[in-house]
């Protein structure tokens, strides 16, 4: 019993803890890994496509603005050149003509031109129109003036100048006959900057211009004003062709930057947009995806747990079946080895027992002689010898039963009607049972097929079981006898009593030889083990079920045909 308990506990622990965790962990790992893989692939694919789109947009913004700015500058410069071509130097140097021209330009270009002046090659104003009194200014030292002498036309960097307002100069050199002169205009940088600064896209998209020597030409995004110098390491002013773009981190800010050189590589147009802005929708998507995958994970987990529960239930069921089979196997093995052992012992005891019997018999023979009749203890000796004989006889019965228990099968297989056989056996005890108020209840299957088996041995089994049932009831009770055809070419015979029942701890030993709860001398404890042996040899099985106080049921299953191994030899 203890062994059985232990085995059960061990089996339970194996399936319910180790196997359960094994299944949970491997299922969940598989689920989480595949989910994470899918999520990761989708996320990074999407991220790179967003990235591509964002940089492509950045590049197109840069290109577009490069075009706009260059067009604007070119147009201004070209207009100035047209003026120098259309108007004679002699005309333009007259104040009133220049004023007329200025009026047209101012109107045409929405006050982009702040002033207009005609200069000689020494940098002196010949004529000037504008809000400031600059007639006396000399520009010979100005950088743009040096440039225009060389290049015919110049667009200067933005500078504050004495006016303390950002502006830049467009100057055109023209030669008419012997006269070479210069038309100079100041362009309001604020107006120009609006072209660039009002470029807004996304939430943080921003554009600005930096001169090749590192001065802001328009306001920067992080608060630098026009003409401020670029903070060291903030911007690489190396010259390159086309458009450059990359992602970078500066002042705790992650952003994409695209840049290109404009105005004959004089100005650097820079466009920036924060990474957060670009990935804004991606972050939202990521959040949604996280929620989605978390829900998916939970669903998978629940499914896994449910599947596992089902699986474990199945495993436990299989295990229980296996355990039952194991127990039956162990039981029959145990009985077989006990049978062999007891047969061996019985055989060894037989000869000494026979000698004891014969020797005491011989002594009895001697005591019967005439010359022995007179001895004083004659009667006591006779009694004693009779007792020896009786006890030897008792031993003999036990050894004979033991031997029959392991005896080679000498079954005579015949066609047997179990219903009839059961009735025959019941009839032997029914009258006596009636005296103890024990009632026999019959529940026979009327379509029970004939079976091929050894009727005398089965009779012995039935007789034994009915006797046991009567002993269990003692007085007042019922014994139910039933037969039933099974689906699998076998029949079932049950004998139930309403007796005292068998305690659980005895139930597993009930078929063991010598196991008895009867008083010493009242039972050998061999009856049920012999029944077990007989039924097994006939290819059947015998089971017992019992509940203390309610009764006991023996169930015998016998095949319609005995198995080949017990065939009569």
């Amino acid at each position: 019993m203890g062994m059985h308990m232990k085995r059960k506990e061990r089996a339970a622990s194996v399936y319910s803890i180790r196997l359960r965790w094994h299944i949970i962990i491997s299922y969940c790992l598989a689920a989480v890994i595949s989910l994470a893989l899918i999520a990761g692939i989708i996320y990074f694919e999407y991220r790179s496509s967003v990235n591509e789109r964002a940089t492509a947009r950045l590049v197109s913004v840069v290109m577009e603005h490069k075009g706009t700015i260059e067009n604007f500058l070119f147009e201004l410069a070209n207009t100035m050149r047209m003026v120098t071509l259309l108007e004679d130097f002699d005309n333009l140097r007259q104040q009133d003509v220049l004023e007329q021209v200025y009026a047209v330009l101012e109107k045409e270009y929405d006050f982009a031109f702040e002033d207009l002046g005609v200069l000689d090659l020494d940098g002196n104003h010949l004529a000037y129109v504008g809000p400031y009194d600059l007639m006396d200014r000399n520009y010979i030292q100005a950088e743009w003036f040096q440039d225009v002498l060389e290049k015919e036309m110049v667009i200067s960097n933005v500078f504050l100048g004495f006016r303390q307002a950002p502006h830049f100069i467009i100057a055109v050199k023209q030669t008419n006959g012997q006269d070479t002169w210069i038309l100079r205009a100041t362009v309001n940088a604020v107006k120009f900057a609006s072209l660039v600064e009002y470029v807004r896209f996304g939430r943080t998209g921003f554009a600005y211009i930096v001169s090749h020597d590192g001065y802001y030409q328009t306001r920067s995004r992080d608060g630098y004003r026009v003409m401020d110098h670029v903070a060291p390491d903030h911007l690489d002013l190396e010259f390159f062709e086309g458009v450059n773009f990359w992602e970078l981190k500066q002042d705790q800010r992650n952003f994409f930057r695209a840049k290109t050189w404009i105005k004959d590589n004089d100005w650097l147009l820079v466009v920036e947009q924060d990474v957060d802005d670009i990935y804004g929708e991606l972050y939202l998507l990521r959040q949604n995806a996280l929620i989605f995958f978390a829900l998916g994970g939970i669903l998978l987990l629940v499914l896994t747990l449910m599947t596992m529960k089902l699986l474990l239930r199945k495993v436990k069921l299989i295990d229980a079946e296996k355990e039952l089979l194991d127990e039956q196997l162990i039981q029959s093995h145990k009985l077989a080895s006990i049978g062999q052992l007891s047969a061996g012992i019985a055989h060894e005891i037989n000869n000494p027992l026979a000698i004891i019997g014969e020797e005491s018999g011989w002594m009895q023979d001697i005591l019967k002689r005439e010359n022995m009749q007179g001895i004083p203890e004659h009667d006591e000796l006779t009694d004693s010898l009779r007792e020896i004989n009786q006890q030897a006889g008792r031993c003999r019965k036990i050894t004979h039963k033991l031997l029959s228990f392991s005896r080679k099968m000498d079954a005579t297989i015949r066609e047997v009607d179990m219903n009839q056989l059961m009735d025959e056996v019941a009839a032997l005890r029914e009258r006596e049972a009636g005296l103890s108020s024990i009632k026999f209840i019959r529940d026979y299957d009327q379509d029970l097929p004939m079976i091929h088996t050894d009727s005398s041995q089965v009779r012995q089994v039935l007789f034994n079981l009915i006797n046991n049932a009567m002993d269990a009831i003692n007085k007042n009770g019922e014994i139910s006898l039933s037969t039933k055809k099974n689906k699998d070419k076998s029949i079932t015979v049950t004998i139930s009593d309403t007796g005292m029942g068998i305690p659980q701890e005895n139930l597993t030993r009930i078929f063991d030889p010598f196991f008895t709860t009867k008083e010493p001398g009242k039972g050998t404890g061999l009856g049920l083990s012999i029944c077990h042996g007989i039924i097994e040899k006939l290819g059947g099985t015998i089971f017992v079920a019992s509940k203390v106080g309610e009764g006991t049921t023996f169930t015998i299953r016998l095949p319609l045909e005995p198995s080949v191994t017990v065939a009569d030899d």
Binding site: H347, N351, L353, G357, E359, D365, R396, L403, S406, K408
Partner: protein, 125 residues
């Protein structure tokens, strides 16, 4: 009733002697042998009516002995005493050659009666 001549074969000497004494007391003419081989020789010297044979013996087994005895003396009646489950009296080789098969140890009166029955059968032949 003439005295039946009984050949008693058992490897257990103590059993042999007490059985011999008790049967002789009751008027049987008993020859005792503790081996199959000596039993066979004894049967050749004297005319034996009934042989009571133990199955398990060193040397010649009970089965071999009874087959040999039956071959040499077809009218001899054989009673087999078996102490274990290994001897099958239904064995086709021996079934028709055995008068009776008794479980050992067997009640003396049963043995005595069986010997008398066997002797009567022998005489009737």
């Amino acid at each position: 009733m003439s005295n039946p001549k009984v050949l008693l074969v058992d490897d257990e000497e103590a059993l042999l002697t007490s059985l011999q004494r008790r049967l002789q007391l009751r008027g049987f003419n008993v020859i005792a042998a503790n081996r199959g081989e000596s039993a066979l020789r004894a049967a050749r010297r004297q005319d034996v009516d009934v042989a009571v044979i133990d199955v398990k013996m060193p040397g010649m087994s009970g089965k071999e002995l009874l087959l040999a005895l039956k071959k040499e003396h077809p009218h001899i009646q054989i009673i087999v005493q078996t102490g274990h489950g290994l001897f099958d009296p239904r064995d086709k080789q021996v079934a028709d050659k055995i008068f009776s098969c008794l479980a050992k140890p067997c009640d003396f009166s049963v043995l005595k009666q069986t010997i008398i029955d066997a002797y009567n059968k022998k005489k009737a032949l």
